[in-house]
């Protein structure tokens, strides 16, 4: 599996070591935290909107945990910056998984989508819209709603 290995090193490790958008944003327009009890991964995400109140102008995160969870959250910040909150709130997880690019077993999948789940909770909370069913399940598993 040396290709996979390669990818792990190159894509994931780069983001793991040099997370983009690292750090809390104060003040912020949207915020949420989440944990993956399995790995003990923790992610906290902060969003600031542009003047239109819709576009994600700045996004920052803090966290700790396995390389997958932290790297995926870092990649996520790149993926969503400049996009509309409405659009990101329903972003299919496959879009992020494609970006990550390595095959993930169900157990590691949860690490990978932790950040996305937290971001969705943050956006839906800020907009007062309900989290879609699929993520409500994850909300429980990943403790997305815990503050």
């Amino acid at each position: 599996m040396s290709e996979l290995d390669q990818l792990y090193r190159e894509v994931i490790l780069d983001h793991y070591r040099n997370p983009r958008g690292h750090g809390a944003l104060e003040p912020h327009d949207a915020h949420a935290e989440g944990q993956n009890p399995l790995c003990g991964d923790e992610v906290s995400i902060f969003v600031r909107f542009a003047d239109d109140g819709e576009t994600i102008d700045e996004i920052g995160f803090e966290g700790r945990g396995c390389a997958i969870s932290q790297a995926a959250t870092s990649m996520l910040t790149e993926l969503v910056k400049g996009r509309k909150a409405e659009e990101v709130a329903v972003l299919p997880k496959d879009e992020l998984l494609e970006e990550i690019g390595i095959p993930l077993t169900p157990i590691r999948l949860k690490c990978a989508i932790l950040g996305l789940g937290v971001l969705k909770v943050a956006l839906h909370r800020a907009k007062g819209t309900p989290l879609p069913e699929e993520w409500r399940t994850l909300e429980n598993e990943l403790r997305l709603a815990d503050d």
Binding site: P37, T105, P106, I107, R108, T137, N140, E141, R143
Partner: protein, 414 residues
Amino acid sequence: MAVTPATKLDARRLRADFPVFDELVNGKPVAFLDSAASTQKPRQVLDAMREFYEHSYANVHRGVYTLAERATAGYEGAREKVRAYVNAPSSREVIFTRGATEALNLVAYAWGLDNLGPGDVVVITELEHHSNFVPWQFIAKKTGAEFAHIPIDDLGELQLDALDEIATRGNVKVVANNLVSNTLGTVNPVEKLATWAHEQGAIMVVDAAQAAPHRKIDVQALGCDFLAFSSHKLCGPSGVGALWGRRELLEEMQPFNFGGEMIRSVALDRTSWNELPYKFEAGTPAIAEAYGFGVAIDYVSEIGLDAIEAHEHELVVQAMDALAEIPGLRIFGPPAERRTGIVSFELENVHPHDVAQILDWEGVAVRAGHHCTQPLMTRLGVAATTRASFYLYSLPEEVDRLVAGLLKVRKTFA
């Protein structure tokens, strides 16, 4: 039963799947007429479990490595099969247990201990299996709730007239009933009971141990809140079974067993629970057995539950007609139209254990005893009965052998 199955099952062909039927008992091929106690297992299930142990076995959950991922996928895949089998809304509502008994205890403890008290009424029936009777009797006593039963008539059918009086005794909180009686084969009016239970603000607990292997189950159509059944009565391995429960109820409940996998976090002063269904699956589960259970569900589903029901119905009609001809033989329970493939009877002046013993010498395996339904035995006025029960692999000539055997018993004890 007005069921016209798409395809009639071919029991003779299916028997080839069951290695045990090559077995001779006392020099004779075994006529296994005790499937209500536990069924035999097809090669498909045994092969799949073996495969699983040889290529995909490890402890489930939390394991990052390949074997653990495979094992987890096999185990969770079985959960989805159980969900589909009973048409549950979500596989998170499916909990693996040792069997129907543990499933029913889980509900009695984890729901009952926190929701019952003096002034409340727990309602069971006179024809419950001990597994859906004694846990409720215990929890009712422990919590001070009243323990009431729905009586049956002489044919073994529930007397729903009694419900009004029962409702006057307090707050009815639980109604528990088997969908099919393991002693009489009676198909009970669970939908009606569920409606009544909900009118009272009670939960409806269905013991489907004798129903799920033999007829289509739809928890949403039944309108129940919990439903329990076992793998070993459904062509699957022993050691595993399932509880389905309504999500809102499961989420409110405390866990039953405590240990590995069912917690979210543990500290010296405080512990919080894992999400459903893991909250109720403490410790290493019956991993390969749950997997085998799923394969058994596939096996039975492929044959088709309508076909199984129709096949058993033919056999029970044949059996009841033939048994009725034996002098001194008394059949218990309703007519064939209102029962599954189970016939309990007594033979005048011969103890059921002697009946079963002599039948065994003829290679015919039946069960003798109270079938874990002592209150029903008391109601029928007997200490024990002899019971023959059929499944998808049962043959008309096995019924003939039963009848011939019984004539021999009669001659022996004449």
